[in-house]
Symmetry: C2
Amino acid sequence: MITNNILSFAKSILCEVLEPGCIAVDATAGNGYDTVYLSRQAGVEGRVFAFDIQEEAIEQTRQRLNEECMPENWTLFHSGHENMLSLIPEEFHGKVNIVMFNLGFLPGSDKSIVTRPETTLKALADSLEILATGAMICIAIYAGHPGGAEEDAAVREYCTALDYHYVRVIQSEMLNKPGYPIRLLFLTKL
Amino acid sequence: MITNNILSFAKSILCEVLEPGCIAVDATAGNGYDTVYLSRQAGVEGRVFAFDIQEEAIEQTRQRLNEECMPENWTLFHSGHENMLSLIPEEFHGKVNIVMFNLGFLPGSDKSIVTRPETTLKALADSLEILATGAMICIAIYAGHPGGAEEDAAVREYCTALDYHYVRVIQSEMLNKPGYPIRLLFLTKL
């Protein structure tokens, strides 16, 4: 049963892209769960680049990668994802298979430190640059915090305007979930 | 690449549910493509029940099933899907793994013969009755015809009101597709 939960739904889509040897970017490392997931899927032949503006998030992610005995296929950047184009080595540009974003705040931490529309949109444009043809960006939007609705709107406006002949954008959400919404966007570069 | 097209996206989700031996319902047989797909996935041990109000659609579907040499696991009903509860034998109630709906008109035929909100909502309620726990309804909504927007709204209103503890509803659509929208709904019975 993969459609009872929006995040297991996302994973079932990602599974199709994440193969051993893939190049993955975690644009928002946060508590590190996704970085570990990407590192495991990429395996020893793959590469994972993870970004976070919070020192605490980078440390949590490093600790989790070590605890879970992940292969040494990862590089952590204590930097915003808007800098990915300059920080990810040029040899990987145009070869990235997946970029993941979790937009909102780091669960269990300071809710005033959140992703922001300006840097998020820059990072999305850069992600499309570094993606391989046929590769995917997966964005999970948690909009239940101050400013969250604005970021949600800005990201969707950006995605809606993308040329259908260059990028396909699928939006998924739970229609009858009580409480704050979680929205998924899957961008495929043609 | 499964996320470049909303229908291949749907198929990748359905694949998780459709196993040999499954019980499937095609609520709108139409040109028969989905009935053939369900018959193939269900295999000799499975069962497929397909409905359509148009004689032409039932004949097209029968012909396609025969041409494709599908196993004799199918039963066609020249009847509206609002009658599924009385037409599908009682022994299958509570055991159905998937019900598929294509809402709108039969491609290439009379556009005045379309699915209607009243009968569609009755069929959705009955589908939830006959589904097994953990099973799924997949609805594709083509709203590019007169009355299509109203049916789209009615179906979504119905789904949004479903109890989250009983049914999960995921909605997916292509955000940047030019032309009329295609919307997908995945309902999972808990």
